[in-house]
């Protein structure tokens, strides 16, 4: 009986000892970046993947023809970097671009990358049976042909400043020799999706569902071997679990820290916090149509009322209360990372008295209950706030108080993301606290805010913002013949939008990553922090604790 009672203790001691012995090992070792994140990948075949983990893994396995440069300029072809294509040539009429593939590029099974792979990848991404999220972005391309084994030619319906972006950077090139015998409708269940072979800087090693995805450096990569030997995406069940992994040394990179985590990171000797630009903008979107779209919204259908409510909000104070003073205020549905951004754009000031005066002028008279009324209708509305976002909930409470000072009453409705999206698509809301990841393509603003987007229904422009003046300017920006003209037109469109106040633009997302002090990230791009993973390095200093386990075991 006594021996039996000791068994668990002995077992625990043995197990602990087994683990502990590995940790002391330290030799010259392969470098490993362990990224901890909350979601597993869905599919490693890029046309079928829809989540960010898949995008990150796909980015190191498969290449695009060209990459957007760090300036994020996507107008014309200035600033783009060669990737699978080492050069490109425009046709004299600008209706086609010939991409010349790097002859050294090869698939990780040894087969060279050919123009036929590009042709196949285009066909796959535009196939209806595949339903790729990239497909609609390739709509401006008429066809893709192979003029020789290493030259793929993209033919366009019409000229536009985003021709190069769409042809060169929207799709990743896939190995035709491994996939072309799989029917499009069966691709979702093809073994390749979970054991991919790419041409990128890293080779696929393994994927354990719900646990980890591992890739290793390809020393034969045509643009040179990447600096970090291995990258592992380690799946944690929750942000807390991910943080514990980072703190315990089981991971050495976490892409997004919460406010409370940043403070903790500062106290940890082996970890550092790195701020990087974001493409997310947060704002309170007004629905300009009444619920169910039966005419204009009784409150937000009036441009002056929207402007007044915007002016009633002290955005600087709200943002610094919830975040800190370094958080950037948003000017509109775009971020400071975009090449079309202009810090001198006009903005509606915080002016509570003026806001009250405008409301008074528009017939909203203060009632005894402290709420304004017009024709028996109170100045009252509800705001949808995602229940999982603490910051948005905190800020909603501050906004509620600020609106109260001008006689507007706002009720806060906490909902989950699917419910919020569903209600917005069905136009069953007054206002919504949105967070939108802005497209690096400036023309994306047309898809989000144009009258045609509002009429089309769906998830875009659910607030039914419509201004013909904006539509005209944005159309001329998209169709402009030179980047300079386009940028000027985009800025005019932004100013129109800001003046119409379809939303209260609050703040740009602040993204802070947590990482080991020995992790040296290359430039972390606002739209894809992982864009330069192949250039990251892990230098001297405390490494992820478990990295030493692998070394002791003699990997690589």
């Amino acid at each position: 009986m006594r021996i039996a009672s000791c068994i668990p203790a002995i077992l625990l001691a043995l197990l602990a000892a087994c683990g502990g012995s590995d940790r002391s090992a330290s030799t010259a070792r392969p470098t490993t970046l362990v990224i901890t994140l909350p979601a597993d990948a869905d599919n490693l075949l890029p046309p079928l993947s829809t989540n960010e983990t898949s995008a990150q893994v796909g980015a190191v396995l498969f290449e695009k023809l060209a990459e957007v440069g760090d300036s994020l300029n996507v107008v014309g072809d200035e600033g783009f970097r060669p990737s699978l294509a080492d050069s490109w040539t425009w046709a004299p009429d600008s209706l086609s671009i010939a991409f010349h593939l790097d002859p050294k590029a090869h698939w990780q099974d040894g087969v060279p990358v050919r123009a036929s792979d590009v042709v196949y990848s285009y066909r796959l991404n535009t196939s209806k049976d595949v339903g790729s999220a990239v497909g609609p972005l390739l709509a401006g391309i008429d066809s893709v042909t192979a003029s020789d084994s290493v030259t793929a030619v993209f033919w366009f319906h019409a000229r536009s400043l985003e021709q190069f972006l769409n042809a060169g950077t929207q799709m990743r090139v896939l190995p035709a020799h491994l996939l072309q015998n799989v029917p499009d409708s069966s691709l979702k269940t093809a073994p390749f999706d979970r054991h991919p072979i790419g041409s990128g800087p890293y080779k696929f090693v393994r994927w354990v569902s719900g646990s980890a995805i591992e890739v290793s450096a390809d020393s034969t990569f045509h643009r040179g071997r990447p600096k970090i030997d291995r990258i592992i995406w380690s799946i944690a069940g929750s942000p807390d679990a991910a943080m514990l992994r980072l703190f315990s040394g089981e991971a050495n990179f976490m892409e997004t820290l919460r406010k409370q985590d940043i403070e903790q990171i500062g106290k940890h000797p082996n970890l550092k916090a790195v701020r990087y630009p974001s493409m997310t903008v947060f704002y309170v979107l007004f629905s300009e149509r009444s619920r169910g779209w039966h005419g204009p919204h009784p409150v937000f259908g009036d441009r002056d009322v929207r402007r007044a409510l915007t002016m009633a909000v002290d955005r600087r104070r709200a943002v610094s209360t919830v975040f800190d003073s370094s958080t950037l205020l948003a000017l509109g549905p775009f971020t400071s990372a975009l090449s079309t951004y202009d810090p001198a754009l006009p903005r509606l000031p915080f002016a509570r008295d003026s806001a009250a005066a405008i409301l008074e002028r528009r017939g909203w008279v203060m009632g005894k209950d402290g709420v304004r009324h017009k024709g028996g209708i109170p100045l009252r509305f509800s705001l949808l706030v995602p229940g999982t976002s603490t910051q948005r909930q905190q800020m909603a409470v501050l906004l509620q108080d600020m609106f109260k000072h001008v006689g507007a009453r706002m009720d806060i409705e906490h909902v989950d993301f699917p419910t919020m999206n569903d209600r917005m698509e069905k136009h069953d809301y007054d206002a919504a606290f949105e967070g939108m990841t802005v497209d690096a393509t400036p023309s994306g603003i047309r898809q989000e805010w144009s009258t045609s987007a509002a009429r089309a229904g769906g998830p875009s422009n659910t607030g039914y913002y419509s201004n013909p003046a904006f539509d005209v300017v944005i159309d001329s920006a998209v169709g402009a013949s030179s980047p300079k003209v386009a940028i000027a037109q985009y800025r005019r469109a932004y100013a129109t939008l800001i003046g119409d106040a379809p939303a209260i633009w609050l703040y740009e997302g602040t993204t802070v990553a947590g990482m080991g002090t020995d992790v040296h990230p290359a430039h972390m791009r606002a739209d894809m922090w992982w864009a330069h993973l192949a250039d990251w390095s892990i230098g001297d200093g405390p490494a992820a604790r478990s990295a030493s386990v692998a070394l002791a075991a003699g990997t690589h």
């Binding site: 197990l15 497909g135 719900g210 944690a236 069940g237 514990l244 089981e250 875009s460």
Partner: protein, 322 residues
Amino acid sequence: MRRLLAGRLLQGLAVLWVVATLTFALLHLAPGDPYSYQSDRRVAPEVAAHWRHVYCLDRPLPAQYACYLASLARGDLGFSISQSRPVRDILIDYVPRTLELMSLGLLLSFAVGIALGVLEARRRGTFADWGSRGIALFFYSMPDFWLALMLALVFAYWLPIFPISGIENVIAAPTYGWWQHAVDHLRHLVLPVTALVLMTCAGIARFQRAAMLDAIQLEFVVTARAKGVSESVIARHHVLRNALLPIITLAGLTLPMLLGGAVLVELVFSWPGMGFITATAVGSRDYALVTSSVLVTSALVVVGTIAADLLYALADPRVRAA
């Protein structure tokens, strides 16, 4: 015995049908669908429409239900949109991990619970009795997730004895032989299983203690004692055997509780099992995966309950006769 088994199986099937229907209805009544939640990368409306059509999501609810039942009848559990692969393949990966966690948790909970119950009953009224009950109650009354987090904090962070989460050392695992794999896996099991055991063993111990105290007062025990049989023989052969009967029923009842606890434990320790995947699937409105997960979980509970009933019948001739 056969009638008992047949009756229980029919009841189980009815329960499964009700569960499947209720889960389907509740999920579809909630706003949104799998394409209302594409948080990372926006899916163009035409692409979403294409996939909604492929997965019958653009049809009226009764048609979707008919579609779902027809698939179930064919043994097809559907396609998970959030995981982008057949639900069957996902379950093959995730169910064994939950079964492993749960069966170990169940086994150790009962071993520890019964041992504590026996100890408390035999030392009734002593410091050992009070102390053991107090400590067990302390863990029992703690919120599940908090207990799991504290275990992780203390034994994986402050005292880095065990891994903090996951099922393997993701860095070293590819280089391990089977023995190292087994040890590594066991090390990762320690904290989640301990959390499950601490959550449940107090209830089992109290149940066992009460059953022991009831059995001690029965006439055959008094007779054995009068005959001069030693206390330890009485405890093992007379009291414990009789006091274990209600525990069989308790095992059937503990199964759903353990499964519920496993959801939280899996999330805190990033143990990629059914709880882990179901929680993710609910957030992304992955209808096929949620309904199948719930169905499989219910099936496990039904099978566990039937097994408990059968064991009880085997152990107690009176039940067989009835």
